[in-house]
């Protein structure tokens, strides 16, 4: 096979992996601070995708333009979900949190099915079929835009946590829950803020993924699983780990499809997960806990 084929496939895999990483970033942020595993993560992303589809269909608003407003809506959704529904479960056993979020996921899938039906939906942007040719390299324009947007959003989130007071407070909550309470931080509000940020991340990722993939109500669980694979590979709770995990999984899937058989792409992604669990259980960028 010619070398440009490998190059084309690898670039496509990395760009898709960046968006996967952004999606998983939300899951990682929520778990890193609130210590709740969001089993409705992929389903929340499908909500954002459907909002983007609806806005595009009704007003021809480009999902990339609507990325910030949709992320804001998802932030509000996540904030309310945490304060009204999840907060009472924070101190309950993990299995009850698990069941709660699985129930939320099922409800979301079914509500979307009722509202939008089972058919796949997508947006037809003016650049939807564009590609850039640089010598033998053909880069899918939508993947490029989505990948770049994922880097920008991830950098903004990183900046928020590193350089703002609420971000610092959230990190304090994540490091020492009791200490945060002692110094008078409003932990419940900060948890809700974090969940909102995680939801905003997934909302932004949904807008980008919609440029690449169609949406159906049933795709949510697949994205939830993918996000889990990525964050466990990258390191649960680690922000850079989520992005690295996303790129690694995206690249692995693409190259496995090329070198072996496309229908076995997921097998290789899960193979990476098994290897990480065996030899580095904390994930590539995760911290070892005692």
């Amino acid at each position: 096979m010619p070398a440009e084929l490998y190059l084309n496939v690898a670039v496509g895999g990395v760009l898709t992996g960046l968006v996967y990483g952004l999606m998983a970033l939300g899951l990682s942020v929520i778990f890193g601070v609130v210590r709740v595993v969001n089993f409705a993560h992929g389903e929340m992303m499908t909500i954002a995708m459907y909002i983007a589809v609806t806005l595009f269909t009704a007003f021809h608003l480009d999902p990339l333009v609507m990325l910030v407003p949709i992320a804001a809506v998802m932030f509000a959704f996540g904030y309310v979900l945490q304060t009204r529904l999840i907060n009472p479960f924070i101190t309950r056993p993990e299995y009850s949190q698990f069941l709660l979020l699985v129930a939320v996921a099922i409800i979301i899938v079914n509500l979307l099915l009722i509202a939008f039906g089972p058919d796949a939906q997508n947006v037809q942007t003016s650049y939807g079929y564009d590609s850039f040719q640089i010598g033998p390299l053909i880069i899918d324009a939508t993947k490029l835009y989505a990948g770049l947007a994922a880097i920008v959003v991830a950098a903004a989130l990183f900046g928020f946590f590193q350089y703002t007071r609420p971000g610092t407070a959230i990190r304090a909550c994540a490091d020492n829950y009791t200490g945060a309470l002692v110094v008078g931080l409003d932990v419940k509000h900060l948890y809700a803020l974090t969940f909102g940020l995680g939801a905003a991340c997934v909302g932004a990722a949904g807008c980008m993924l919609l440029l690449i993939f169609d949406v159906t109500p049933a795709v949510g669980p697949a994205y939830t699983l993918l996000a889990f694979v990525i964050v466990i590979t990258g390191g649960l709770g680690s922000m850079p780990g989520a992005l690295i995990g996303g790129v690694l999984i995206g690249l692995t899937e693409a190259m496995a499809g090329l070198l072996f058989t496309p229908s076995a792409k997921s097998m290789f992604a899960f193979g990476i997960l098994v290897l990480v669990l065996l030899f580095r259980p904390q994930g590539i960028m995760g911290k070892k806990t005692s």
Binding site: V9, A120, S263
Partner: protein, 415 residues
Amino acid sequence: MKRKSQSKTARVSRRTFTAGLSAAGLLAGTAPFNIVRAQGAALKVGVLLPRSGYQAGIGQDCQRGVDITAGILKDLGLPSLQIMNADTETNVDVARARAEKLIGEGAQLLVGAFDSGQSSAIAQVAEQKGIPYVINIAAAPPITEQGYKFVFRNFPTAGMILRDAFVDQKEVFASVGAAPKTAVFMHVNDTFGTAMKGGIGAVMPKFDMPYKIVETIAYDPAARDLSVEISKAKATGADALLMVSRLNDAILLTRELVKQRWTPMAILSMGPGWYEDQYLKTLNKLSDGPLSFAPWYDPNKKMSKQLDAALAKAHPGFNLNTNHVYTFEALLIAADAYKRAGSSDPKALADAVRTTNIKDNVSIGPGIQFDAKGQNDKILGGGIQNRGGKLITVAPKEAANGKPEWPLKPYDKRG
């Protein structure tokens, strides 16, 4: 606002209780006889379709075929059907359970279920309970090889589909005076796709096709990204793509062809996906050109025009397709058999279905008849081409309403 009290206690005396018990006994005793209804009452038909799950789109498309049936049956002077809908949820076990439930609720004949796995499960239930079952769409050959007495299929088997596909392809090549020399075979990696792969391997050598398959690429039917698959296919430099797809993957593959700037000489599909309305609507001009070789309908038949008009009225913007046609014909078979049987007795109904001889129908071929196995072995496949959002039948000649356009117009020159 005060609510009036209605607290007068209802008393049940021993005499009332005994009378009630006797009435209930009488009702229970006669109930079984009510199942066999006299002609005049509508036949209760349980229609099992995947209305949710990943086949939901196709299940709902089949439902459009159900929606337009009643009016045509009335025009034909056939008895009416009382449709009892059930959702198989694209799941074999659910299909089996729903079939049992429908029979329990009084269904006198079953129709469905688009998918071979689900249809096999329903066939077992129908045979066990002795209720006639008319399969609308399912191609797996074993369903009608089990010696069932109550199972009938008005749809070609996988072998028949492949045979007709190769025959029609050769007819198209002869008609345009050109043919691909090489092809990449891409197929979904599900039961249908792998069965078709096996079938193509076995059947193709018998037809002396002008092209050879240079690469076979299997992919996940639920794949979200098929860029690697198209990169791989493009790298072979093959003339044509030979496809066995579903709907979503057909759309994804076309998008990738455009993005990766590759227009093969022809796309030859041997399954669903490429001719479906959602494909046409989603891709607009980019949907033009692929040739699909599939169970189809004869647009020149009188009833096809009638069905097309009914669909246009009930569901404007939808092209008549396999899903509508074969679901309609399954219900047509049910109504015709009910009329001839003169009763809803399951055995009489099954005997009437077995002796079906409908000449005035929609699908390609001489009409609807069943062999000893319950298979309509006279059905023929068709070759169709997408053009301007419409589907033109290009093969076989006797059912064609247009000539094929060849080769595929380059994607970057479609405006």
